[in-house]
């Protein structure tokens, strides 16, 4: 009888040990996942912060629909830098977000999407079609913008007041909530 109890206690202790071990492993996995996600967000935020406070120059851009010249004189609005090297579904998602923002806050008028490299008219019109934006989608022919505007990743979204970049979003491709945070920040 005594032997039986001893074995029972041993088995119970083993099971308890195993449970603690599994809980510890699970926690570690979770922590690693959370850490990775935070690290990634921090990197994107750091990258975006570099643009805040910079001046967005007045440049000549051309409307993809009719090649009309537009000057990027911005009182209050967004500039979205696009590229064919960027993730297209992400670019469409962000254009849709901005369109929705403009619909609600109609004071933010000076908004342009600009292709910075690999411009192709049909590709630009495809983005316009799928995102259903009402603001112009444009391209520019001279490299007037400095290198940091022209390097990956894309899209880059700047909220601008009187040519000064107030806030920047470089979206994380698979993280919608990250872009929503930016949207919330601008609204407030």
């Amino acid at each position: 009888m005594r032997k039986y109890y001893i074995w029972l206690i041993i088995i119970l202790l083993l099971l308890l040990g195993l449970t603690f071990f599994n809980l510890y492993r699970l926690d570690n996995k979770k922590i690693k996942k959370i850490n990775y996600s935070r690290e990634r967000e921090t990197n994107y935020l750091k990258l975006a912060e570099k643009f805040n406070g910079l001046e967005f120059p007045v440049i000549k851009i051309y409307n993809a629909i009719n090649d009309n010249v537009i000057e990027t004189k911005i009182k209050k609005g967004f500039i979205v830098l696009l590229s064919n090297s960027g993730c297209n579904p992400c670019q469409i998602r962000e254009l849709k977000n901005i369109e929705e923002f403009l619909r609600v806050y109609n004071k933010v008028k000076d908004t342009y999407a600009i292709y910075v490299d690999n411009y192709n008219r049909i590709d630009a019109l495809r983005l316009k079609k799928l995102s259903a934006i009402s603001f112009p989608i444009c391209y520019f022919s001279n490299d007037i913008l400095s290198e940091n505007f022209l390097t990956k990743p894309f899209p880059k979204i700047f909220f601008i007041e009187n040519q000064k970049i107030i806030s920047t979003l470089i979206p994380i491709p698979d993280k919608v909530s990250f872009s929503e945070d930016f949207d919330r920040k601008i609204r407030n």
Binding site: N88, P89, I92, I122, R126, K128, L130, D174
Partner: protein, 337 residues
């Protein structure tokens, strides 16, 4: 005197050779060699960015993958929308980034996706479930009669063909690849993979129109291919397979060269190779024993997206209207005469 004679003879041969080469004019002749079956105008109920990949089932339904629009649609043979695929009702929150959607041998659907690497649907478009956890999307896939998947892989663990079950779990690896182009094959999309009714497997690498034929156990049983007159061989491999080198070297290496772009199961007894030469596309048709079936080279100005059940599918984008509104792409279907 002797030297002058050798020189003039050499010159004559060079001129003769050059004139023969240039006399073979490269003219688009596809539209004379093929007849148009019909054009499918896709319904305006859906907005399509671009059709990147297209597959057809035995009823003529068309499965289109639109990478820009992040969507996969099933259309009937007239272009009417039957279903837009989504994994949401089975797997809410699934990271939906479709790359290529294929019909399997039972008429059900596998969508290759950018992480997670694949998702299964029933033929009617209802979601079915995820692939095996070990499955990674290959460059090309094709199905055997028992619905086993064979995949063409050009990933970090080396070039190989992989036989898998219908959920993508590995059975075995096989395949031969030209070692002199290992890095280009690793870095550049091209080539293809098809199977036939007897479960033989045909592999095409982008570096040449040579086709490697294997049995279903992965044993190489034949190698065939015809070099067309316009073929310009890629001279060398990339100097390194790292991303930066590939990015800087690839354009130079492939400029004016011919690459084998795709392989199609054109019909139950024919396979089709599509080559790309920088300015034009060329097609070749073989029977399953490797016999070349065309009398002349066929050249076309647009890329064939698919060829199956004896029909050739080409997509074209109509021009935008004055307001910049872009219509949906149109699918043109041809048949070789």
């Amino acid at each position: 005197m002797g030297r002058r004679k050798t020189f003039s003879l050499g010159l004559t041969f060079t001129l003769l050779f050059t004139s023969i080469i240039f006399s073979q004019d490269i003219k688009v002749n596809f539209y004379e060699k093929a007849s148009k079956v019909k054009s499918i105008k896709i319904t305006d109920k859906i907005l399509i960015g671009d059709i990147n990949f297209l597959d057809i089932d035995k009823n003529g339904n068309i499965l289109i993958t639109d990478k820009i629009g992040n969507a996969v649609h099933i259309l009937d043979r007239e272009g009417k929308l039957l279903r837009t695929l989504t994994p949401d009702s089975c797997n809410p929150g699934f990271n939906w980034r479709p790359l290529k959607a294929y019909y399997d041998r039972h008429g059900d659907i596998l969508v290759l996706n950018s992480i997670p690497w694949g998702y299964l649907f029933w033929g009617n478009g209802n979601c079915r479930g995820e692939m095996d956890i070990t499955f990674i999307a290959p460059l090309h896939i094709y199905y055997l009669s028992d619905n086993s998947i064979v995949g063409y892989y050009n990933l970090d663990d080396g070039l190989h063909l992989k036989m898998m079950n219908d959920k993508g779990k590995e059975k075995f690896r096989f395949g031969e690849f030209p070692s002199e182009y290992e890095r280009i094959l690793y870095r550049f999309e091209g080539g293809g993979l098809v199977t036939d009714k007897d479960d033989n497997i045909y592999q095409l690498n982008l570096s040449s129109p040579d086709i490697f034929k294997y049995d279903k156990r992965g044993k190489l049983i034949q190698r065939f291919g015809k070099i067309p007159f316009y073929f310009r061989k890629i001279e060398r491999d990339l100097s390194s397979s790292d991303h930066k080198t590939a990015f800087t070297e690839i354009q130079k290496l492939l400029k004016d060269k011919t690459i084998a772009l795709s392989l199609f199961e054109y019909d139950t007894d024919k396979i089709m190779v599509q080559l790309y030469n920088g300015n034009f596309y060329g097609i070749q048709v073989y029977n399953l024993k490797g016999k070349y079936l065309l009398k002349d080279e066929i050249i076309l100005d647009r890329q064939i997206l698919s060829a199956k059940y004896g029909l050739i599918y080409i997509v074209h984008q109509p021009a935008p209207d004055a307001n910049g509104n872009l219509p949906n792409p149109v699918i043109d279907i041809y048949k070789l005469k």
